[in-house]
């Protein structure tokens, strides 16, 4: 049943646009959102998730297109058992992870060294204690540390710290139990904290805060 039919059944034309985006189950009838509506509403979130997972990858447009293709193909099969956003994020994360794994598999076939994206994941150099890290520079250092984490821990950390998802949502997205998501997140935080502390970044932030005060 399409969205308009559901809206008509409810006799509320003002809800048509929202119904196409936020799927709701009404008396057992599920409205199927349209592709255009979903991607327009959520494209910013799709890009943010892809950017977090794959990093500064020159093939990010390819990943986005694969997400949209998968969205177009899978949307008719969306049954409304979970929130649309959760379903969409799960799809997006899976496509991004598939891209990373394919890239990892194909890396040994390359005779020309690492790609430009790999260079951005290189661990950052030790910070000059007299300098002040802000914005992009700070983010670059932290991402350098995150790149050293395993993929499982890294993805959970990125979805939690950068995208603001809760562990329960992350577990649903990745198809892992809640406690697994939590333990991966804790392990990632512990590793990252140690890494940052060993390079003086945490102390540096504290001293900067004191200066500002």
């Amino acid at each position: 049943m399409d969205a308009m039919a559901v809206a008509g059944w409810r006799g509320d034309s003002t809800r048509v646009q929202r119904m196409t985006v936020e799927t709701e189950a009404v008396h057992g009838v599920v409205a199927t959102p349209t592709f255009d509506a979903v991607y327009r509403e959520h494209r910013g979130r799709i890009f943010a998730v892809v950017r977090s997972v794959v990093g500064a990858d020159p093939d990010i447009d390819d990943v986005l297109q694969l997400v949209l293709i998968e969205l177009h193909r899978s949307l008719p099969r969306f049954e409304g058992r979970s929130k649309l956003t959760t379903w969409l994020h799960r799809l997006t994360v899976n496509v991004a992870l598939q891209h990373l794994r394919k890239k990892k598999r194909g890396r040994w076939l390359s005779f020309f060294g690492s790609s430009a994206a790999d260079d951005t994941l290189e661990p950052a150099a030790p910070v000059n204690e007299t300098g002040r890290l802000e914005g992009r520079e700070l983010l670059r250092h932290v991402e350098g540390a995150v790149a050293a984490l395993s993929e499982k821990k890294r993805v959970v950390w990125q979805l939690y710290e950068l995208e603001g998802f809760e562990p329960a949502e992350i577990g649903e997205m990745l198809g892992i139990p809640l406690n697994t998501a939590r333990s991966r997140l804790l392990a990632a935080r512990r590793d990252l904290t140690d890494w940052l502390e060993a390079r003086g970044l945490l102390e540096l932030r504290a001293s900067q805060g004191e200066d500002e005060a």
Partner: protein, 408 residues
């Protein structure tokens, strides 16, 4: 105004992450594709999802082209391989085959067909112990009676091995008979060739047996006496190894004259295929070579224990002395000289077994089992014994019957 400062490591981390998250959002906002780009991506996704065209992956078309070329090359190679082995599956390959096991003909003759199309005709009251029967490796032992083998055309690296007594021979041709006759004073082996060529290695020399010829052997008891092993005397061993077979061997039902002429041609071709094996020099025994090495003052003394071990081990082995098994073990033992202990021997044997795979002789497994037993690893020792028995059941009846390991 004084603000509260983060004290703990976790608080400082959380404060840092707040800034990181903000920087990430700014970066995402600045890097997000434009509306036009999103529209183009969505349109391409619609087309791809609808099957109008494949996703914009530059490598897909070259990859498909490469796969097509690889498939074509594979088909051509497979076709060539089929021509080499005979176009299409042969009748013999299509027939049901017999596998490894102990075959006893009883009162009536028995004909067996093995993988690769090889056949063995067992005369009455004959026992054939088949250890391996794959297209690339046939390994069997005639323990009683007479067996006529017909070997199908094979690849040069395929092995067709038949053992009996203490000698061995290499088969160049395709049809031969191995007989064991007990005349009351000791068993004697004989080989007769119907077509093709067989090379017999005995007494340090070798002899080519051509079509319609026969090879008489000295009483096997002499070889057994040389070994000084009662268990070995109980079984008669001769090894027949087929190497460098002729691919266009004459069919079995060809007239006798044509068959003989073909066999002569096969003999000439076979001599060209493996000339080095036809003039192989006599091999020394492992013990003799090790003694020679030990007598050399330049060898370190720590090899003495190894020498003692490896000299005892061949004496314990019931199938020692059968070339090229001895050569294999000899190689393993010489490799172990650097280690100076039984562990080195075991490692060397393991290396030989790994290198030879299914073709590794039972003697190597037997000696490896002996090594495992000497270091007190009973379960491993039994496992290796079973491997050895799988290769040489005729010579190793049961691990429990083996003599105890000598204390060095």
């Amino acid at each position: 105004m004084k603000t509260s400062q983060p004290k703990t490591k976790e608080e400082r981390y959380d404060a840092l992450m707040g800034e990181v998250r903000e920087a990430h959002r700014e970066r995402v906002a600045s890097e997000e594709p434009s509306d036009a780009r999103w529209t183009a991506l969505a349109a391409a996704a619609r087309e791809a999802a609808a099957g109008k065209r494949a996703p914009t992956r530059a490598w897909i078309r070259p990859a498909l082209a490469f796969c097509a070329v690889a498939l074509a090359v594979g088909v051509v190679l497979a076709y060539d391989a089929g021509l080499e082995r005979g176009a299409g599956p042969s009748v013999a390959e299509a027939l049901p085959t017999n596998g490894p096991g102990l075959w006893h003909s009883g009162e009536a003759p028995l004909t067996l067909t093995f993988a690769g199309g090889h056949t063995a005709q067992l005369a009455a009251d004959t026992i054939l112990d088949v250890a391996d029967a794959t297209p690339s490796l046939f390994d069997a032992r005639v323990t009683r009676g007479a067996v006529t083998f017909e070997v199908s055309p094979r690849r040069p690296d395929d092995i067709f091995r038949v053992r009996f007594g203490a000698e061995y021979l290499e088969v160049r041709g395709t049809k031969f008979t191995v007989s064991l006759n007990d005349n009351g004073e000791g068993a004697a082996a004989s080989v007769s060739v119907e077509h093709g060529v067989v090379e017999v290695f005995a007494g340090g020399g070798s002899e080519l047996i051509r079509a319609s010829q026969a090879w008489p052997s000295p009483p096997v008891g002499a070889a057994i006496e040389r070994l000084g092993n009662d268990e070995a005397a109980a079984s008669l061993e001769v090894e027949v190894v087929a190497v460098g077979d002729i691919q266009d061997a004459e069919p079995q039902d060809e007239p006798a004259d044509g068959e003989k002429a073909s066999a002569e041609a096969e003999a000439a071709a076979a001599e060209k295929l493996v000339p080095e094996q036809a003039v192989a020099p006599p091999k020394t025994t492992p013990s003799a070579k090790l003694r020679a090495v030990e007598a050399n003052p330049t060898v370190k003394s720590k090899s003495r224990l190894t020498t003692e071990i490896v000299e005892i081990a061949p004496q314990q082995s019931p199938i020692v002395g059968v070339e090229p098994l001895s050569a294999t073990v000899e190689h393993a033992l010489l490799l172990s000289m650097k280690s100076g202990d039984c562990a080195g021997v075991e490692r060397a044997l393991a290396g030989v077994i790994r290198a030879q795979g299914a073709a590794a002789p039972g003697e190597a497994w037997w000696m490896r089992a002996w090594c495992a037993r000497s270091r007190g690893d009973g379960p491993t020792s039994v496992r290796y014994f079973e491997k050895a028995r799988g290769k040489a059941r005729w010579a190793i009846p049961d691990a429990a019957t083996l003599p105890p390991v000598p204390q060095l």
